[in-house]
């Protein structure tokens, strides 16, 4: 394993760069999309409600690989230039956003209804009340499960390997197939994924602790 890490360090680092870039883009994108669709799902507006529910149900129940393949094989016919990295990152964003929407929805629903009612009766519009009163509380509640989603997202970014997206798993496959040291290579790759996901887990746990010290209600 050490010989793989030393001998192929530059390829592995190159792969980690792509994995981190894809994960960061998908993390931000899926958080934004997830919050938007969570608000759709709980929205009093019927049509938004239906759109939100369909979105969540479709993308939560299709394997990530199928979504990513769709963006890699089918979509370039309409949007040329959608390469493996972009297609994979878009797939990852959409797939994760469906789970985040569900998580955030649960968070919003666990904020007591009185919060919304109080905000509205103080003259806030629905969106204002959402933005300033309900969402800040909901996000704090869902931090632990968001942490899970983010860690899953980093691991799921390995889907890029199937789309020639140059990520860590892709480089691992190439190293394994040229050196034939399959076990050692995938052990090294696993270790490097740990290096990326462990700090993320600890950071999310830190946020959880920090925010739980400042009561909001």
């Amino acid at each position: 394993m050490i010989s793989i890490l030393v001998g192929h360090w530059s390829e592995l680092i190159e792969g980690m760069k792509y994995t981190i870039a894809s994960s960061l883009l998908a993390l931000v994108g899926s958080l934004i999309l997830g919050v938007i669709f969570a608000m759709f799902v709980i929205s009093p507006n019927k049509s938004l409600n239906v759109i939100g529910k369909i979105y969540v149900e479709i993308f939560r129940n299709i394997p990530l690989l199928v979504i990513a393949m769709f963006f890699y094989i089918v979509m370039p016919r309409i949007f040329p230039g959608l390469d493996g990295f972009k297609a994979g990152t878009i797939g990852l964003t959409i797939y994760t956003s469906a789970f985040i929407a569900e998580t955030v929805r649960a968070g919003i629903e666990s904020v007591p209804v009185g919060q919304m009612e109080a905000a509205r009766s103080n003259g806030m519009a629905y969106l204002q009340a959402m933005r300033y009163i309900v969402l800040p509380q909901a996000i704090k509640i869902v931090v632990p499960s968001l942490g899970n989603q983010f860690v899953n997202l980093v691991k799921n970014s390995s889907v890029l390997a199937f789309l020639a997206g140059f990520d860590l798993m892709y480089q691992g496959n190439l190293i394994a197939s040229t050196t034939f040291k399959t076990t050692d290579t995938y052990l090294a790759v696993g270790l490097l994924y740990l290096v990326m996901t462990m700090p993320l887990s600890y950071f999310m746990r830190y946020l959880e602790k920090r925010w739980s010290k400042t009561p909001t209600v």
Binding site: V74, R77, L163, A164, T178, F180, T182
Partner: protein
């Protein structure tokens, strides 16, 4: 608080133990020592690793689930020569990434999976005599500006198959072109069709199979390498290897080999006859 810290400490102690276990299990497997010839005779059963997604060589029939192709037929003929007419021949689909581990772990007894004989692979396994003299070529959409491997200059993208020798070669013959590696021929062809690359490269036998499926693509520029295919067996199986080579010679002499070549390749337009023995 104290309790939490203890728990965390215990978790951290488990981590090296976990890694150590993984390393130890990786060292334990050496199936190569069992004599394949003897076990096969006893069970009257042999298992081959073949491609399951390569038109003409080994392709899974979606309706019956059976794998059919030139290599599958060669494997059947060789097995019957060695173990007699009644031997049960099993086929396991493999790909370029899984074939060597599957052979080494003993999941398959032999590999006949469009695998070219290379010095690197010879360090890991033993090869039989050549049964198909493939060569690497490129395939493009008809009407493409790319006419040969020389036209793959900077700014072009060429699609190859992960773990195959051809991706290492293309870096030599077209060093300026960006290489995208996909996991198998079907995916690589799908990627080429959706415009992810300008050309696809692999052995010509495989490319012919793809063009027979979609005639709007063709092989251009002839082959620029020789990739002799051999049957792979584990090291230490000398008896088995000798028997395979003897069987290959026999089916070549009695005309069965030529019959199989005709069966699979006679329909292919532009098929390069020099690839067969």
């Amino acid at each position: 608080m104290q309790h939490m810290r203890l728990k965390q400490l215990r978790l951290w102690c488990l981590l090296p133990l976990f890694i150590l276990t993984l390393m130890l299990t990786a060292c334990g497997q050496h199936v190569g020592e069992k004599d394949v010839m003897q076990t096969e005779r006893e069970t009257n059963e042999i298992t081959w690793g073949v491609k399951g997604d390569m038109r003409l060589f080994g392709l899974t029939d979606i309706e019956t689930g059976e794998i059919r192709g030139f290599e599958v037929d060669i494997a059947k003929a060789v097995s019957k020569e060695i173990f007699g007419k009644n031997v049960k021949v099993n086929f396991v689909p493999v790909n370029s990434n899984t074939r060597l581990p599957l052979l080494k772990n003993g999941n398959v007894d032999a590999l006949i999976a469009t695998m070219s004989i290379t010095a690197d692979r010879k360090k890991e396994i033993d090869f039989s005599d050549v049964y198909f003299n493939a060569g690497q070529a490129i395939m493009v959409k008809k009407g493409s500006k790319i006419k040969s491997v020389k036209d793959l200059t900077s700014g072009t993208k060429v699609i190859g198959i992960q773990g195959s020798n051809s991706v290492l070669n293309i870096k030599k013959y077209a060093p300026k072109s960006e290489v995208l590696q996909l996991s198998d021929a079907a995916q690589a062809f799908a990627a080429l069709k959706s415009g992810q690359g300008d050309a696809m490269t692999t052995d010509n036998g495989i490319l012919y199979g793809l063009t027979s499926d979609d005639p709007s693509y063709h092989v251009v520029g002839g082959s620029f390498t020789t990739e002799p295919y051999g049957i792979g067996v584990n090291k230490g199986q000398k008896k088995f290897l000798t028997a395979i080579n003897k069987a290959l010679k026999k089916i070549e002499k009695n005309g069965e080999y030529q019959k199989l070549v005709d069966k699979w390749f006679s329909q292919i337009s532009g098929f390069d006859g020099s690839v067969v023995k």
